[in-house]
């Protein structure tokens, strides 16, 4: 259960090696040790994350989870909820991909769409079903400002996040009567392994800063947040910039 001051007791991280996701788990664990389920493909990084969280007093379980293996999702979610209620679920897996390759190569584009959108929808449905039955809980989906307005430089990724964003925004409404809060988080440019070597956009941020935004959203039951917060106003303005001007912007 999430208590009166907003401390959860258990967290499921789908995308168990996601830097932002792990930073969020650590931010929660900073106040109180948690029961953590890390769902990801087995890797040394996953093992490292488990050890790191255990050293902070958390009880960590890892689950083999492959975003592309859609038909295994219900079973993975079933296992994640088998040991009791899950207070916070974070959907953090995703691929950035190379935009030039993605919009010219079918296979790359489809993989991006499947991981970032189809798989996110798939786990969203399965987790939503569990949360509905449990009557409480918080579901966090990592969207992106890239989904707010398509840009030439990363529109394939942006389109997948736009789909994810719309799905979880709707899920927010669908699950609200069941006592479940869905928070859609829209980070800007985050310095992670995924963005290594890329030129940072203005208002770029870190996984730890996004984690704080996630913690704050869960505690405050916020349904739509930007990281960093001022991006909300930047994006609001950018959405209305006429195309001839927008395409000339150095974004």
């Amino acid at each position: 259960m999430i208590d009166a001051v907003g401390n959860p007791q258990s967290i499921l991280l789908l995308g168990g090696t996601s830097e932002i996701g792990l930073a969020a788990v650590e931010a929660f664990a900073g106040d109180r040790p948690l029961r953590v389920v890390l769902a990801a493909r087995p890797s040394p990084r996953l093992d490292g994350a488990k050890v790191r969280l255990e050293s902070r007093g958390c009880a960590v379980e890892t689950l083999d989870f492959d975003a592309l293996a859609l038909d295994t999702h219900p079973e993975v979610v079933e296992k994640a909820f088998a040991d009791g209620d899950v207070d916070v679920t974070i959907v953090a897996f995703g691929l950035l991909g190379d935009n030039e390759q993605a919009w010219t190569d079918v296979q790359t584009a489809v993989e991006l769409a499947q991981v970032n959108y189809t798989a996110a929808v798939s786990v969203g449905v399965a987790v939503g079903d569990k949360l509905k039955a449990q009557g409480h809980g918080s579901l966090v989906a990592l969207s992106s400002v890239a989904g707010e307005r398509a840009r030439r430089s990363n529109f394939v990724y942006g389109s997948t996040k736009a789909g994810l964003d719309a799905f979880y925004t709707g899920l927010t409404e669908a699950l609200r009567p069941f006592g479940v809060t869905v928070s859609v988080v829209r980070p800007g440019f985050v310095h992670t392994k995924m963005t290594e070597g890329l030129k940072a956009a203005p208002l770029s941020t870190t996984p730890e800063a996004v984690a704080e935004v996630i913690v704050d959203a869960v505690r405050g039951k916020k349904e739509l947040v930007w990281a960093p917060a001022p991006l909300r106003f930047v994006m609001s303005a950018l959405r209305h910039v006429p195309r001839p001007i927008f395409r000339r912007l150095p974004l």
Partner: protein, 480 residues
């Protein structure tokens, strides 16, 4: 945030239980509603299917057809945290069981339904010169809730807690069996596991209570204004036994030499001779109006250092030292009951009440806790300090000989960390938390504070082996 389901779809899965078909029919005819519930602190709401039974048969039917998330009884929702919530499961709104079956003016024995409030019972019993010996800070509490939390009042050092005054109770357990329990009868273990058992042993549907005889509904009150904490506790330690009721309020905002200055109020029931001629015309008058209801419009942060200081100053100044004042029940016991839904004043984020007890010899903890709260910059305006008398036999009953302190703190940044720090201080001193107020501690803190928890679990397991009774509190604190 409050939310209300629009469509009350009946989604309860059917639990396979050996039930006659009649009960199932009764069950399906019970109206249910899916809605969010929270405690008096307005924190951590969860959604459950709410059923309002009208009689013990309907209670039994609801219990035996509860789904996999279980069932819990709820009274008037005055617990601060989550004991009367059951996320994804069933919650029985017990306020549908409202009969006062009998009042025996000579013996003081009353037979009441569990959904009757202390307020209602008092209004009915007072004309017979009967008084509820245990009254907490509000009368808006049901009999069932009073037993489940084994509530206490300002008279604890003399009369003990609520369970001490229950002569018998009717409990519906997980298999739908209706049991008659007494404190010393064949199932006395279950009786005492139910007292303070937070509704997790079964649903109390009826109780026999023993009330006290009084001549008047007034108190003869001695008020002492004491300008620091050490003197306040010292005064409260001396001659407390001469008074039927004793409690102090203190200022947790002012620092320096007047740190913990407060008002000690102690009283005995007034006799006819104490009253003015006018009061004597109606000595059992129940003077407890509710003058206003707070609307749900307050922003967070209204209680801050400035307003807290103003409130504390005013509260301190309004009660100069005087002896023998005659006060009615509202003036002496329940000033907050004048205002309906006063918890809304804390704003949408809600608040928590931090209440603990530490052994008498660890009175120093009170000061340490206060200093920590003040140093952390949190503001608590309603602070209550009391010396408990002897506890009772119930394994999960909160009161034990010692000092109990109660703080109301609005939810704000850093409060979780502060409370965790206070937990360590309290537990290290051999203290424990009050489950009716609890909303954020750890299972470990409860295990340490209640060494008889396992004993209680065993008794519970004999009547509810499948875990039909469940609540958010039980899940959060791993009570089951």
């Amino acid at each position: 945030m409050l939310f209300r389901a629009v469509a009350p779809v009946d989604r309860r899965p059917v639990r396979v239980a050996a039930r006659p078909p009649v009960a199932w029919a009764a069950m399906t005819s019970l109206p249910s509603e899916t809605r969010a519930l929270h405690g008096w602190g307005r924190t951590a709401p969860t959604v459950a299917t709410v059923i309002t039974p009208r009689n013990p048969e309907e209670v039994a039917a609801a219990i035996t057809t509860a789904g996999p998330r279980g069932i819990i009884a709820r009274g008037l929702g005055r617990s601060y945290g989550d004991p009367a919530q059951n996320a994804g499961g069933t919650v029985l709104d017990m306020t549908g069981l409202t009969s006062v079956h009998s009042i025996d003016a000579d013996s003081g024995r009353v037979v009441v339904d569990a959904g009757v409030s202390l307020d209602t019972l008092m209004r009915r019993a007072l004309p017979f010169g009967l008084w509820l010996p245990v009254l907490p800070g509000t009368r808006q509490v049901t009999i069932g809730g009073a037993i489940g939390a084994d509530i206490h009042g300002k008279a604890h050092h003399v009369v003990g807690s609520f369970g001490n005054h229950v002569e018998a109770m009717t409990l519906v357990t997980a298999d739908g069996t209706v049991r008659e329990l007494t404190p010393d009868g064949p199932e006395s273990e279950l009786f005492w596991a139910t007292v303070g058992g937070m509704g997790l042993t079964g649903v109390v549907v009826r109780a026999v209570l023993k009330l006290h005889h009084v001549e008047t509904a007034y108190f003869k009150v001695d008020t002492e204004q004491i300008d620091n904490l050490a003197d306040l506790m010292d005064r409260q330690t001396r001659d407390d036994e001469k008074y039927a009721e004793s409690v102090s309020w203190f200022d947790a905002v002012t620092t320096g030499e007047h740190f913990g200055r407060g008002i000690l109020t102690r009283a005995n029931h007034a006799t006819l001779a104490d009253l003015t001629p006018k009061q004597r015309r109606d000595p059992l008058k129940f003077d407890a109006p509710q003058l206003l209801t707070v609307p749900d419009v307050f922003p967070p942060g209204l209680l801050n250092k400035l307003t807290g200081k103003i409130f504390s100053e005013a509260w301190y100044r309004k009660s100069p030292t005087r002896t023998g004042a005659i006060q009615n029940i509202t003036q002496f016991l329940h000033p907050l009951d004048i205002i309906g839904e006063w918890n809304r004043g804390y704003g949408p984020h809600g608040f928590l009440q931090y209440q603990f007890v530490v052994p008498l010899e660890r009175g120093d903890v009170i000061r340490t806790v206060l200093e920590r709260v003040t140093a952390a910059g949190h503001v608590s305006a309603l602070n209550v300090l009391k010396r408990f008398g002897e506890g009772n036999r119930a394994p999960l009953s909160f009161p034990r000989p010692g000092w109990t302190l109660c703080l109301d703190i609005p939810i704000g940044p850093g409060l979780g960390a502060l409370c965790a720090e206070l937990d360590a201080i309290v537990l290290d001193a051999g203290g424990r938390h009050y489950l009716a107020k609890e909303s954020r501690t750890t299972p470990e803190a409860i295990r340490r504070g209640y060494p008889r928890l396992d004993e209680w679990r065993k008794i519970r397991a004999t009547v509810d082996p499948e875990g039909v009774f469940a609540s958010d509190l039980a899940r959060r604190l791993e009570l089951l």
